[in-house]
């Protein structure tokens, strides 16, 4: 019983939030890693692309809510998601045509691209703030919990509750579907294969008749989809605020780099590594320890390795360690 309580407390405060957060990071990092491997630069505008996609989705959600359309127990935002994706695709294609293509034709160095994406980031940043404002927006509706802590306690008779929010459930399910679809696309379809070929060796791909502009366009379309999905899932689970999305850039890049830039599997693994280390290292183990250890050994202190203030420091420390000892990341990013 005690052991079960410990397990439930751990799952509730570490397991469930970290899995949800990890999935969100993983989808975000997949987008970054795709841009990196196909277009060969670090896209700093990714966080704000997420914010833009989420913003459009929120606006459409409000429209639906106003018209009385709902998705039953699921959040209306899921219905609005395709519209968000479509508009975001339009925006990234627009920035590609007007900004990135120019530098591609110049054969600009990757570092120039990074700076250009920084500029795009500021533009998108301003655009989002201009349209929806800098404040917090809440747009989650429908059933809030799959199972709430109170119900769980009643059901099992345990002292500890386990809460799983609908948004967390949706996040994990969506993440699995998205990742499966993406891998199928990259490995089985003609376009996916040509993207991988282009990423492996640009010149060879051109020689074998792959149209580079097509590859670039498909990449952006996929990136826009991933970014919007990641953004909407994060917003449903927490809340939407442009500045938070801008800050998300850090853990997302950390995930992509730790896993190995350019490697899709690495991006997913990286997302979960970053999420779990942020939560477990700053977790106060007192509660769990009190359940597991015999009474005489129960700790007085919090049994906390690091104060939660240092949450971000954890991702950075991991990032530095990986860069120092395994610069290509855990899954050997191909093109670093």
């Amino acid at each position: 019983m005690e052991l079960l309580n410990a397990l439930v407390a751990f799952t509730n405060f570490v397991g469930v939030p970290a899995i949800a957060y990890g999935s969100q990071l993983a989808i975000g990092a997949l987008g970054v890693t795709l841009v990196y491997s196909v277009l060969r630069f670090s896209n700093f505008a990714h966080g704000d692309t997420m914010a833009f996609g989420t913003m459009v989705t929120i606006l459409v959600t409000w429209l639906f809510q106003g018209a009385g359309i709902s998705f039953g127990p699921l959040p209306t935002a899921l219905l609005a998601l395709p519209f968000g994706i479509a508009v975001t695709m339009g925006l990234v294609l627009f920035t590609d045509r007007t900004v990135y293509r120019f530098y591609r034709e110049q054969k600009a160095k990757p570092v120039v691209f990074v700076m250009v994406s920084l500029g795009v980031m500021f533009m998108m940043n301003g655009l989002v703030r201009f349209i929806i404002g800098p404040g917090d927006q809440r747009f989650a509706d429908g059933e809030r919990f799959i199972i709430s802590a109170r119900d769980f306690k009643k059901m099992t008779g345990l002292d500890e509750g386990l809460a799983i929010k609908t948004s967390q459930g949706i996040t994990v399910v969506t993440a699995i579907i998205v990742v499966a679809l993406l891998f199928w696309f990259l490995n089985k379809t003609r376009t996916g294969k040509s993207m991988r070929a282009y990423s492996d060796n640009e010149d060879l791909a051109l020689l074998s008749g792959i149209n580079p502009e097509r590859v670039v366009m498909y990449t952006w379309l996929i990136v826009a989809t991933l970014a919007t999905i990641a953004g909407v899932l994060y917003g449903l689970d927490k809340s939407f605020k442009p500045f938070t999305y801008f800050q998300l850039l850090l853990p997302i890049f950390a995930s992509a780099i730790v896993g190995g830039l350019g490697s899709p599997i690495g991006a997913i693994a990286g997302g979960f590594i970053i999420a779990f280390s942020e939560v477990t290292i700053t977790y106060a183990w007192k509660k769990v320890a009190t359940y597991v250890l015999p009474e005489t050994m129960a700790p007085d202190g919090l049994v906390q390795l690091l104060s939660t203030d240092y949450k971000f420091a954890v991702s950075f420390a991991i990032l530095i360690i990986v860069l120092l000892f395994k610069p290509t990341g855990i899954f050997k990013g191909k093109s670093v």
């Binding site: 407390a9 405060f13 957060y21 919990f145 802590a149 509750g161 927490k238 700053t282 906390q304 949450k311």
Partner: protein, 397 residues
């Protein structure tokens, strides 16, 4: 260019002396508040509140033989020490006789040390609540019509004790205000025998607070006290704690009291409680009506305190018979406290008359002003409990 600068400086200097000479006829009060920045939504009403007291006195025509009181507004940015000090210097150059301000605790300390003390200028802040300002060396130049957060800590401890709460977990927003308030709550609550299981900071403006809540939950405690901001991290912490079932009841200090919190959180917040500076004095009602007639919201936070700050300046000047800070500074405590005729908002003319004939007044104003210790409000608080999704007033302390 250099000539132009010299000429401008010379003109500014002569202008300054000219104003200084004109003391008898015109009195200038600086209103140095954060008209831009984090509390810009409050400062509009605060500035108007202070200016209402000035207009009232001017209209009465009884201050120092019919002096006209004018207001000069300047900005502190709430968190911008450089801006605040520069604007403080500008007010001194403009020849003000006193400064209503600053607003946020950090800039107020900066203005006090860099502008007010070197120039011997009196400041009355309507809204700086950091306990640190109580102990700051101020040469008798600094007063405030708002209570110190140390007082809020005591009130919170009393409330917790009365509600039979033995242990609390405490989280605060990571800045001067949050840290000061958290320290005050911890000291006071432990002083009455309560247990504080954890004191942890949280950053504002983050999306995800599950790690913070996990630590707070692990530490345990009957309730979670959140010394933060209701539109910021405080809301995120409460939401996350409710979602994970970590805590069901919350202690809410002043920064967390507002209509938006119960609205955003929903019915789960029912039963949580807290306190915010406020009084049940008759003055508050009178002030709210006067403000309504003027077209602004007199119940807006710190607007009554601003009115009182400006009024205290003018009454002290009348009592001293001088608008020189060195003369009237010592009179501020006299006019604010008993003995004497109680004075409510709207009765400044009457008060000036009593003072002119050598009588004594006990200025109550809009907030039931009583200055204690180093010249700060004793502080009455409104105890609040969330019932059916609204903040209901339980009683006054």
């Amino acid at each position: 260019m250099k000539k132009l600068m010299t000429a401008t400086a010379a003109i500014a200097l002569t202008a300054g002396t000219a104003f200084a000479d004109g003391h008898g006829k015109e009195i200038k009060l600086g209103v140095l508040l954060g008209f831009t920045g984090p509390i810009e939504s409050l400062t509009a009403a605060m500035g108007t509140g202070a200016e209402m007291a000035m207009d009232e006195v001017t209209a009465s025509g009884k201050l120092l033989g019919g002096a006209k009181v004018t207001s000069i507004r300047a900005d502190t940015g709430c968190i911008d020490n450089g801006l605040a000090v520069a604007n403080g210097e500008k007010l001194i150059a403009d020849g003000v006789n006193g400064i209503v301000g600053g607003d946020c605790s950090g800039v107020t300390g900066a203005i006090l040390q860099n502008v007010a003390i070197p120039n011997g200028m009196v400041m009355i802040s309507p809204s700086a609540t950091s306990p640190g300002l109580s102990t700051m060396e101020d040469n008798g130049l600094f007063f405030r019509t708002s209570p110190s957060d140390a007082r809020e800590g005591q009130v919170m401890a009393e409330i917790l004790q009365e509600r039979d709460i033995k242990s609390i977990a405490l989280t605060y927003t990571n800045n001067d205000y949050g840290k000061g308030l958290a320290d005050a709550i911890k000291t006071s609550f432990e002083g009455v025998g309560g247990e504080v299981t954890i004191v942890a900071a949280h950053e504002d403006g983050k999306g995800d607070y599950s790690a913070e809540v996990a630590s707070l939950a692990s530490a345990g405690g009957d309730i979670l006290v959140v010394a933060g901001y209701l539109d910021q991290g405080g809301l995120g912490i409460i939401q996350s704690a409710l979602d994970s079932g970590a805590y069901e009841t919350f202690g809410l200090p002043g920064g967390m009291i507002g209509d938006s919190l119960p609205k955003n959180v929903g019915s789960d917040l029912d039963g949580s409680f807290g306190q915010i500076a406020g009084s049940d004095s008759k003055g508050a009602e009178v002030f709210a009506e006067l403000a309504k007639a003027k077209g602004f919201d007199g119940t807006s936070a710190y607007a009554p305190e601003s009115y009182d700050a400006a009024a205290l300046f003018l009454l002290a000047m009348q009592a001293a018979g001088s608008s020189n800070p060195a003369d009237y500074g010592a009179k501020i405590m006299d006019v604010a406290n008993a003995p004497g005729e109680p004075i409510n908002p709207g009765e400044l003319g009457k008060a000036l008359e009593i003072l002119a004939t050598g009588g004594e007044i006990d200025y109550q104003g809009a907030t039931g002003v009583e200055l204690i210790g180093p010249g700060e409000s004793a502080g009455s608080y409104r105890e609040i409990e969330v019932k059916d999704g609204v903040n209901a007033t339980v009683k006054f302390r």
